[in-house]
């Protein structure tokens, strides 16, 4: 039998998008420290269900840190206090017996709460639809060296492609800005020869980002500090300069 701890949870409960929410207190007793954070919430939900209550709604899917579905803010840190991991990869051994945890949903105008800890992140999808894609030839797989990609570029593109679109960057940013997410898409696609064909990518994505009501980047780098995939803010710089270049080219062509 492994060690167990007792916690006090203060969880944001909100019945629906248009109803006001508030923190409710739950006692998490005898929590096995080897559980993940989501498993701990499952245990609490079973107890709530046994009492005929409404279980806490929270998003989750793969539970191995690659899908980008889970995520809540624990004591002011998106995905909890452990760096470079998603909420589902966070284990209860990271907490101490007697801790009080304040659990809130991602907070942003562009991420309206659907219920409890579940928010609507489709704003990020709409940004990707505006320019976060690239044209590829269909049919048989081409020979691997048909289009040569410099190793340095491919490394940077792959690092940016690690973004799982969880939205923790928006949740962490004091301005609820989506610049790290969009910056990751810019590097992921724009550094590769295939992606270079799609011009005005940044302008289109930034237009959509602004329309969704995300804030402006003020370079506080909270996003980088909380990103579970360690996406670097140099991607935001790349986006800034690519945007400037696109603007100049657009003006020249018009």
């Amino acid at each position: 039998m492994s060690k167990t701890i007792n916690l006090t949870l203060k969880v944001w409960r909100q019945a629906g998008a248009d109803t006001p929410g508030k923190l409710e207190t739950y006692n998490a007793t005898n929590i096995d420290v080897e559980m993940s954070f989501l498993e701990m919430l499952d245990v609490i939900n079973e107890e709530i269900a046994l009492d005929d209550g409404d279980p806490i709604a929270f998003d989750n899917d793969c539970r191995e840190g690659i899908c980008g579905t889970c995520g809540v803010v624990v004591n002011g840190s998106p995905h909890g206090p452990q760096k470079s991991t998603t909420l589902c990869q966070l284990h209860m051994r990271k907490f101490n017996d007697g801790d009080t945890l304040i659990i809130e949903p991602w907070r942003a105008k562009a991420f309206p709460v659907i219920k409890d800890l579940v928010v609507d992140r489709s704003a990020l999808d709409r940004i990707s639809q505006a320019g976060g894609y690239t044209g590829v030839k269909t049919g048989q797989a081409p020979e691997a060296h048909t289009i040569a990609v410099p190793k340095a570029d491919s490394d940077k593109a792959m690092d940016a492609a690690a973004c799982i679109g969880c939205g923790a960057c928006v949740a962490a940013c004091p301005n609820a800005s989506a610049m790290l997410y969009v910056g990751a898409k810019v590097s992921h696609l724009g550094l590769l020869p295939q992606g270079k064909l799609d011009c005005d990518r940044v302008i289109n994505m930034v237009n959509q980002m602004d329309a969704e009501g995300f804030g402006n980047c003020t370079n506080t780098y909270e996003c980088e500090a909380t990103c579970p995939k360690d996406i670097n803010v140099s991607n935001i710089a790349r986006m800034n300069r690519t945007h400037l270049v696109e603007k100049i080219i657009q003006r020249k062509n018009s």
Binding site: V73, P78, P174, I236, N240
Partner: protein, 234 residues
């Protein structure tokens, strides 16, 4: 205007204003040289009229653009998170300066207005002569008009509150720049594994130089009283 364009406008005007501060500091250093040296410099500037009006106009436009863009960005950022977090936590190692830019900025605006009334347009607005009463080495006391030098001197020597406010304002400006300079470069897309950390240190250094160099002039007059003034003002 797109969010990134706004940020770049903010960064560009900010960088140009840092450049202006450098020039301003150069001028202020004439205060170390005494009344003739500083008044000579001030007269030299005044002689540039009406060309000076162009520079003043451009400078005014820079300030106004910087302030309006900053306020716009700030209000948008406030609106982007209508419901605040109950628990907050500092996750990044970034400085306090980055998060307090709107507040330090507004304080600088207050200081700027005060500065324009007290120094820049002191003659035009107050018709205030730069009278100082000084004690000469032979023991005699003399009162004469030291011009703009006298106004600046009296404001630092005979009003400790004034000097304190000035020094605090210089520190706030330095603090504002310590984030602003590096932030502007990031906003224009400058990012380099090796050079970005240097730029961030440089940014803090520029902020420190601005705070220390401007303050040193006020403190020099307050503490050392180089022309042995015993009273000033009207």
């Amino acid at each position: 205007m797109q969010s990134i364009c706004k940020k770049q406008l903010l960064g560009l005007t900010g960088l140009l204003l840092v450049g202006f501060l450098g020039g301003h500091l150069g001028g202020n250093l004439f205060l170390f040289g005494g009344a003739d040296s500083f008044n000579g410099y001030a007269q030299h500037l005044a002689n540039l009229r009406p060309g000076l009006l162009l520079i003043e106009g451009a400078l005014g436009l820079l300030f106004i653009t910087h302030i309006i863009t900053a306020l716009n960005v700030w209000f948008e950022n406030q609106a982007a998170r209508p419901i605040k977090y109950i628990a907050t936590n500092q996750n990044s190692e970034q400085s306090l300066a980055s998060k307090t830019m709107p507040y330090t900025g507004l304080f600088i605006l207050l200081y700027l207005i005060w500065h324009l009334f007290n120094y820049t347009y002191a003659f035009g607005i107050n018709h205030q002569p730069g009278l100082l009463t000084i004690k000469l080495p032979n023991g005699t006391v003399e009162t004469k008009d030291f011009g703009l030098y006298g106004i600046v001197y009296a404001s630092f020597k005979f009003s400790i509150l004034n000097t304190l406010f000035y020094v605090i304002a210089m520190c706030v400006i330095g603090f504002h720049i310590s984030h602003g300079f590096a932030s502007a470069l990031q906003t224009f897309g400058f990012s380099h594994k090796k050079y970005t950390p240097i730029v961030e240190k440089l940014s803090k250094l520029i902020g420190l130089i601005v705070a220390v160099a401007f303050s040193s002039i006020a403190l020099y007059i307050l503490i050392f009283n180089p022309i042995n003034a015993i009273s000033g003002g009207n």
